[in-house]
């Protein structure tokens, strides 16, 4: 049958070469070896062929066909329905567009991306102490002494930090941090847990975790890196939705109670869609989509990057609908969004850019790759067809 063209060592070298394991000099050696003799070339080609077929065959069952089809069929279905509905809605749409043009379009309509005063997201928040006193964290710089004797350190760069070596009291007092639209804030709790709070979000937490569990309340969106402590479970509550963890990293987006998204980066967590639901477990790189009102939930495998990139100061969308993108943009840049054409909401974009970019850069990029046009008028973004 097949004559052995390669010895074991050469086979392993070629394998390492195709796997990208070798350095430049070694890559070059392989090339020269293959070019030096037709027999080597034949052996190389035969190996490449098998290598590729084996790689493809291995990955074949890891391709997530069901999820892919959901996404693609959503597009084809959407188009069909729109056509039927379009004729009915046309006259209303013309009226609405006319009104919109009259109301919103700035005078210099041919300069869609004119000067704007819209600032990217920046660290800003209000801290509510256990006494009810409110502190603007952009103004305050001195450590604050809480009622139970804990110190709260404020730093413009590293955010808020609670004393880990605080006096052990049995008193459970709460602080609350409120991040407005256009803001973000980072804090380290008394147990060392790190939390990134996104725009328009609120977190309520004990100053010291001196009970048998660590319980915090969230509104909006946050990324948690929870310090491991098997004796004290960490609980995140969003109204009736709750997550139980021991030590792990995950992102919770709870801006919409009917679509609470939890993405697990590593570790393991359990969640309850609401008080009546049973606990379900989430694996790393999975997303739980929860409707906390109905208690329905769905778990699926995802690319976690778009969900957690914000915490690393990036804006990443992967094939995301424009209406969802603009919902986030509105919070980050504190703007209002107005769609002149409903169908533009269904446009999809990929994006990967620094979080602190000028809003116009983002729009420029989206204008270049679609038939949408973005007007900025004061704090309103108007999206129309080209």
């Amino acid at each position: 049958m097949e004559k052995r063209l390669l010895n074991q060592e050469m086979e392993e070298r070629l394998l390492a070469f195709f796997n990208g394991e070798l350095d430049e000099a070694a890559n070059e050696e392989i090339r020269q070896w293959a070019d030096s003799d037709p027999k080597n070339r034949a052996a190389y080609d035969a190996f490449l062929k098998d290598y590729l077929r084996l790689r493809w065959a291995q990955e074949d069952r890891h391709i997530q066909v069901t999820r892919a089809w959901q996404r693609i069929s959503a597009t084809t279905r959407g188009k069909r329905q729109r056509r039927i509905y379009f004729t009915v809605a046309a006259s209303i749409a013309i009226l609405a567009v006319a009104a919109a043009v009259f109301l919103f379009i700035p005078k210099k309509a041919n300069q869609p991306l004119a000067q704007s005063s819209i600032q990217p997201v920046k660290p800003q928040a209000t801290l509510v102490l256990s006494t009810g006193k409110k502190i603007d964290l952009n103004q305050a710089h001195l450590p604050i002494l809480e009622q139970d004797g804990s110190t709260v350190n404020i730093d413009t760069l590293s955010g808020l930090r609670y004393d880990t070596a605080a006096p052990q009291t049995t008193q459970l007092i709460y602080n609350k941090i409120i991040v407005p639209r256009g803001g973000e804030y980072f804090l380290t709790l008394a147990d060392g847990t790190q939390i990134w709070l996104d725009a328009e979000s609120t977190l309520e937490y004990p100053v010291q975790f001196n009970t048998t569990e660590r319980r915090v309340k969230l509104q909006g969106k946050a990324y948690f890196s929870v310090t491991r402590d098997t004796t004290k479970p960490f609980l995140v509550e969003v109204d009736k939705f709750s997550i139980r963890v021991h030590g792990t990293e995950f992102n919770v987006n709870a801006h919409d109670a009917q679509r609470i998204e939890t993405v697990l980066v590593n570790g393991s967590i359990g969640f309850k869609a609401n008080a009546k639901s049973a606990e379900q477990l989430l694996q790393p790189h999975q997303l739980a989509m929860v409707n906390s009102l109905t208690g329905q939930s769905e778990i699926r495998d995802v690319n976690i990057l778009p969900h957690v990139a914000w915490k690393n100061r990036n804006i990443v969308f992967a094939n995301e609908r424009l209406d969802n993108i603009m919902e986030e943009i509105a919070r980050w840049y504190d703007v209002h969004v107005f769609f002149q054409n409903e169908e533009l909401k269904a446009l999809r974009f990929d994006c990967n850019m620094p979080r602190y970019s000028d809003i116009r850069e983002l729009f420029f990029f989206m204008e270049q790759t679609s038939n949408a046009r973005f007007y900025i008028n004061d704090r309103t973004v108007i999206i129309s067809k080209k």
Partner: protein, 192 residues
């Protein structure tokens, strides 16, 4: 081969008429192979899936203004997917730097024609491997990890990874080529 020609013609007719059934057929026939093909150049299965999905959606939305022709459908899809991977790639895979695309394409066409068969063959053989070897195969081929990373994760030495992977590939190659030889015999016998 002939079956594929009929399907290609159907896909083109339906898609040119913007019938959603055409997208379904295109997906059933081409999604998996195109993802594998894209992944050859980028080694990131998730990204490869995204690229092919975006491509199908762009095709449906009429962003690619070209009449689909049955005879060249397969190569047309391949070229467009390949271009999309090039645009998305941050670090170029060894295959794109050192191996000519024509060569990859030739192997791919052959693979695509008997994909089910090859996949079954390979997976059946892989099932007989020890767990550790299977883990290494998945880590390197599916997750695109470096030997070093695999060694760390599994708590073994890098040379163990290299050897186990080498052994696995040798066995799989033998299995593939044994099959080819018998197919050749069948072909040879039926022809005469």
């Amino acid at each position: 081969m002939e079956k594929r020609t009929v399907i290609d013609a159907q896909i083109c007719n339906l898609l040119n008429a913007r019938d959603p059934q055409g997208m379904k057929l295109l997906f059933q026939t081409y999604y998996k192979p195109l993802v594998s093909y894209a992944n050859t150049f980028i080694r990131d299965l998730q990204l490869a899936e995204d690229i092919v999905q975006e491509f199908f959606i762009a095709l449906w939305n009429g962003e690619i203004r070209q009449e689909l022709i049955p005879g060249s459908l397969a190569s047309f899809l391949r070229v467009l997917v390949r271009n999309r991977t090039y645009n998305r790639v941050t670090k170029r895979d060894i295959l794109t730097r050192y191996v000519e695309v024509d060569k990859i394409d030739a192997v791919f066409q052959e693979y695509d024609d008997s994909r089910d068969h090859i996949v079954n063959l390979v997976l059946k053989e892989v099932e007989t491997f020890p767990d550790r070897t299977r883990e290494i195969l998945t880590a390197v081929f599916v997750n695109g990890l470096k030997y070093r990373e695999v060694a760390q994760r599994l708590g073994v030495s890098e040379s163990t990874v290299k050897t186990l992977l080498g052994n696995a590939i040798r066995k799989l190659r033998e299995r593939l080529n044994r099959e080819q030889f018998s197919q050749f015999l069948i072909f040879f016998c039926t022809k005469n």
